[in-house]
């Protein structure tokens, strides 16, 4: 492979070359910028903030320990809601315009400790509220497979960047599907870990009891390597689990003897045929690899959506109270008194979708409505968790769509909040239950003159089932019908073609 094609490498292959001394960290980091970004970035707009100087500084810092670091020289685009000292952190919002945190998020520190290089901040829906990355104060991100379509969201920036080749790994955050749904739309792997496995310290909070940092990569092995680097207890996050994270080093162990749930009632209606077809392809591939299908009915996703939009907005209304123009970020310049300072700053600083959710959450917590809305939702959450527990008593993992549709067109759902919310109908349950979910790409599907678009399935498992999910993801990666990859691959991918 020529040096110019370094950006095609998987993270693990790239790190191996850096460790061996065959590849300079700076070249590993800049390859994606010189190659694919030059072709794609202006159209896709995956990156909200970057800075060649900061990249160079981070590259030389990473070069110091390059001989031993597991992710030596691996460039990573991280979502713009993860605090970084070397780039602004704006959460796609005007209210944080130009804000530079004085500290690194724990996951950012761990990336650096493992030799990776943060190359910039990925675009996102404002405060992670959205499913299309159209609600960013810095302009929308587009899907590299079809620039007229959305990359999914809210972590659309990192998902699209990994898909077009800027970097092999991206970090996002997943509160209701914000990693898994854009991973599906961009045809990459997307892991939402078990709640409490990746530290939230330095992740700007949206729904604290639901938020998890998630991982994008083009290959199952890269997800595993990144998870191994990031997961584990953090003394600065009391919600991290205190036990060591599950061992994912055997992500390539295969699925022989594994059982996977098949809740086909969920896609009998309201799910696009292409998505259903993808599920069948995946199920057959898993069976061929030695896994066994267990069919059962599962609770419809509407309950999860209803629960989510009360819990997540309640927590968001609280978490976003701190943006008030006093200590950081935007301040309205006409504020004669403190009340005006707050009201004008927040009304001008937050976009309409964020304001809508703050209002909804404030209502759900307000005197007289708490029991009917917030408390009921928290009880429903218990019920939903039990549904998953019951399901996982019958299988090791469950197949599910990651999204009911293929990538939709820009503007298609921006005026209908509820329609947008329903695009997370298959992902929200995992956040409510605190369980892990992995989006696995199942190749491209083109029909009726439409350009080929990525499609994907989601594999859900019980708490700490990351090793199982990765094994299933890996089995689909090598044995799926539409992408046939050699077991020793490190560059193959269903790369988008520019149109």
């Amino acid at each position: 492979m020529s040096g110019a094609d370094v950006w095609r490498l998987s993270a693990t292959a790239l790190a191996a070359r850096v460790r061996a001394g065959d590849l300079a960290v700076a070249d590993a980091v800049e390859s994606g910028w010189r190659g694919p970004a030059a072709a794609w970035e202006a159209d896709v707009h995956a990156v909200a903030h970057t800075d060649p100087g900061a990249r160079a500084a981070a590259s030389s810092a990473a070069a110091r320990d390059r001989r031993t670091a597991p992710l030596a020289g691996v460039p990573v685009l991280v979502k713009d809601n993860l605090c970084t000292t070397d780039y602004p952190t704006t959460c796609g919002s005007r209210i944080l315009a130009g804000y530079r945190p004085p500290y690194d998020a724990t996951v950012i520190g761990r990336l650096r400790d493992h030799g990776a290089v943060v190359i910039g901040k990925g675009n996102m829906d404002e405060f992670a509220m959205g499913s299309s990355t159209e609600f960013s104060a810095y302009g929308p991100t587009r899907n590299p497979y079809d620039l007229g379509r959305v990359p999914g969201g809210s972590s659309g920036g990192p998902a699209a960047a990994v898909a077009y080749g800027l970097c092999p790994v991206g970090l996002g955050s997943d509160t209701g599907g914000s990693v898994r749904q854009p991973a599906a739309f961009c045809g990459v792997f997307g892991l939402k870990p078990t709640y409490g496995r990746l530290s939230r310290y330095g992740l700007v909070a949206f729904g604290s009891s639901l938020d998890q940092v998630g991982i994008f990569a083009r290959h199952a092995g890269d997800v595993a390597a990144t998870y191994a680097a990031l997961a584990g207890p953090d003394p600065h996050d009391a919600t991290t689990r205190q036990t060591p994270a599950p061992d994912v080093s055997r992500w390539d162990r295969g699925v022989a003897g594994l059982t996977f749930g098949w809740p086909a009632n969920l896609w009998r209606e309201g799910v696009e045929p292409d998505v259903v077809e993808g599920l069948e392809i995946a199920a057959v591939a898993l069976e061929r690899a030695g896994a066994r299908r267990v069919a059962f009915d599962f609770m419809p996703g509407e309950y999860a959506v209803a629960t989510y939009y009360l819990v997540a907005t309640a927590e968001a209304s609280s978490n976003l109270a701190r943006f008030d123009g006093v200590r950081y970020g935007f301040r309205h310049d006409d504020a004669p008194d403190v009340r005006a300072l707050y009201t004008r700053t927040r009304s001008a600083g937050f976009g309409p979708e964020v304001q809508r959710r703050i209002l909804l959450g404030t209502y759900a917590l307000s005197a007289g409505y708490y029991d009917a809305y917030y408390l009921t939702a928290q009880r429903a959450r218990t019920r939903i968790r039990r549904e998953y527990e019951a399901a996982f008593a019958r299988c090791d993992c469950m197949l599910m769509p990651a999204s009911p549709t293929l990538p939709f067109r820009l503007g298609e759902k921006t005026d209908d909040p509820l329609a947008m919310y329903l695009s997370d109908i298959f992902t929200i349950g995992a956040n409510l239950a605190g369980i892990p979910g992995l989006t696995v790409p199942v190749g491209l599907t083109g029909a009726n003159g439409r350009p080929p678009l990525p499609r994907a399935v989601q594999v859900l498992g019980p708490e700490d089932a990351e090793p199982v999910l990765l094994a299933a993801g890996r089995a689909l990666e090598v044995g799926g019908d539409t992408i046939r990859l050699g077991a020793a691959h490190d560059t193959e991918f269903a790369w988008p073609t520019k149109r």
Binding site: P235, R241, V326, Y328, V338, T362, Q378, G434
Partner: protein, 104 residues
């Protein structure tokens, strides 16, 4: 509709947001649509379901606590603490006048 104009005004005030008069009606409609959808939860049997407060409740265990010790690594200098402030002077954040300390 579950939310009317007065509700919108009340919660906007609580949330320190200002909804322009010509958007109140529409906001009430949008919020009501979500709340009406959420009414589906009433069909769910919640008998014996205690509220989930913390994700992974039980398995995650009680909160870890910290020892009463100084953490100088994370501590900021006044310069750093104030660096992102819209307005500051002489080690202090500046805000419009706060008349009396009325912290509840």
């Amino acid at each position: 509709m579950s939310i009317d104009r007065e509700d919108v005004k009340r919660i906007a005030e609580l949330a320190r947001l200002e909804i322009p008069e010509d958007r109140i009606e529409r906001t009430a409609r949008e919020l009501s649509a979500v709340l009406d959808y959420a009414a589906a939860l009433r069909r769910l049997d919640l008998e014996g379901c205690e509220p989930t407060v913390f994700a992974g409740l039980g398995a995650a265990g009680p909160a870890p606590l910290r020892a009463d010790a100084l953490d100088d690594v994370r501590r900021l200098t006044p310069e750093t603490a104030l660096a992102a402030a819209p307005e500051h002077e002489d080690d202090a954040f500046l805000v419009p006048p706060v008349v009396e300390n009325l912290n509840p």
